[in-house]
């Protein structure tokens, strides 16, 4: 693969890795707050609840960022020159196959036409032979 698509993919992978790391960290922090309160058999303190809510909001935003990244990546790949070129290349391959298929049909048709001409000639000579006899 060459050109712009390679760059788009590299950027998307990097960004996804960063987002995944952030997602894991946020999830671990949320879990730690919940487990601390559960282990002590008490409800979360006010400070813990505020922090918990903040972390949950950040986690939701991180997941929104995955959605945005997915859309932007697909949009960029869709508009890339590489995808346009690959489309042209596969269209060429398809044209070649169509030409080969047409050739196969032509050969079959030629054989059929030859057989019909010979059949016509046989009938004609049959009629002539009838006159001679």
């Amino acid at each position: 693969m060459s050109g712009d698509a390679k760059e788009i993919i590299a950027i998307a992978r990097d960004t996804r890795t960063h987002l995944s790391t952030l997602e894991l960290t946020l999830s671990s922090d949320i879990e730690a707050i919940e487990q601390d309160a559960f282990a002590a058999n008490r409800p979360m303190t006010k400070a813990e609840t505020t922090r918990h809510d903040q972390l949950r909001a950040m986690l939701a935003e991180t997941r929104d960022a995955f959605v945005a990244l997915g859309f932007v990546t697909l949009q960029a790949l869709n508009n890339s020159d590489t995808v346009k070129r690959l489309r042209a290349d596969i269209a060429d391959a398809n044209q070649q196959i169509q030409a080969d298929l047409a050739r196969l049909k032509k050969i079959a048709k030629f054989a059929e036409v030859t057989a019909r001409i010979l059949e016509g000639l046989a009938k004609l000579t049959g009629t002539l032979a009838g006159f001679v006899a």
Binding site: R63, L104, V132
Partner: protein, 330 residues
């Protein structure tokens, strides 16, 4: 006995031609029927992978449109009409979304090129199937057989017109024509295999180059679907945390986790990896490069199994999403 002498070498030559062609074909090991099951399977699997990809892409587009709607409802964006559309003489009617700086984008976007690339690859696979499905060799064999009957009649009639006896060549015409018909049929068969070989050799670099793009598209699409699941799981987990004694809350949390797990087990990027491997093996098998047809078929089977599993999973998730939406609107 001139006639007998002349007919025997002709028939023998025809027989020799048949034998040479037969030996050539056996040596080349290249009957188009050898490749038919592999190419048929590759065609159906590619079509399934394409349909699965289209559904995944629709998920991304729907998620993006929903995000824009939420921004509109918050007042961050404004919905308007695409200039020149939605008038009495317009050809289309489309919504655009505009931000405060005037930058606009369609609410319902499309990724035409990637989708078309996937479609072109599926068309290519269908074209390969058309080559192996072509009955040109059988048609040619049948036509040569019919021609033999006519030549026999023609020969007899000419002999009558000349006033001569029955042409002894006539006795050899049909068997010789059968051999020629078979040989010509096999020649056309060789043309079919050659067409497959040329087509796969030409398409293989394109498919190998398209692989990372299709893989990345599939990863991007599955990330969008997974982000939706992850958010729902987080919300239901929080609902259960706030009401730990609520059985229904626990059940809803557990169910969403199971659904997300099913979605995560989908191997969407691996489908395209398997497609590229299967096509590479098919190309090498046709080119006689250290890959047997059986190996190529095994790789195609793996690809087909992955494509089928992905397609079924996406269809099931789609059905589940529809059912859940219906339940929510009640």
């Amino acid at each position: 006995m001139p006639t007998t002498r002349s007919s025997a070498p002709w028939a023998a030559a025809a027989q020799r031609l048949g034998c040479v062609v037969a030996l050539g074909l056996i040596a080349a090991g290249c009957s188009v029927n050898t490749y038919k099951p592999a190419i048929d399977r590759f065609g159906t699997a590619t079509q399934q992978a394409r349909e699965a990809y289209t559904k995944m892409e629709a998920t991304v587009l729907a998620a993006h449109a929903e995000d824009l709607r939420q921004q509109m409802l918050r007042g961050d964006l404004r919905a308007t009409l695409k200039p020149g559309t939605c008038n009495v003489r317009s050809e289309r009617c489309e919504i655009m979304v505009v931000d405060r700086s005037g930058k606009s984008q369609p609410l319902h976007d499309q990724f035409d090129n990637i989708n078309a690339l996937m479609g072109d690859i599926a068309d290519y696979a269908a074209n390969l199937r058309a080559i192996v499905a072509s009955d040109a060799p059988q048609q040619v064999t049948a036509s040569v057989g019919a021609a033999a009957g006519s030549i026999k009649a023609l020969s007899a009639n000419i002999a009558k017109i000349k006033g001569a006896g029955a042409d002894k060549n006539a006795a050899f015409i049909e068997p010789a024509a059968n051999i020629i018909g078979w040989a010509v049929g096999e020649f056309v068969n060789l043309l079919q295999v050659d067409a497959l070989r040329k087509a796969t050799a030409r398409a293989n670099p394109v498919i190998q180059e398209a692989l990372p793009i299709l893989q990345e598209s599939a990863i991007a699409a599955s990330s969008v679907a997974n982000a939706g699941f992850a958010k729902r799981v987080a919300d239901l987990r929080e609902a259960y945390r706030r009401a730990p004694g609520d059985r229904a809350a626990l059940d809803r949390f557990e169910k969403e986790v199971r659904d997300f797990d099913t979605a995560l087990r989908a191997t969407s990027p691996a489908v395209f990896d398997a497609m590229a491997t299967a096509h590479g093996d098919l190309t090498d098998a046709l080119a006689g490069k250290n890959v047997s047809v059986a190996d190529a078929y095994a790789a195609i089977e793996q690809f087909a199994a992955k494509a089928e599993a992905l397609y079924k999973l996406i269809a099931a998730l789609e059905a589940a999403a529809k059912a859940s939406k219906k339940q929510n609107t009640r």
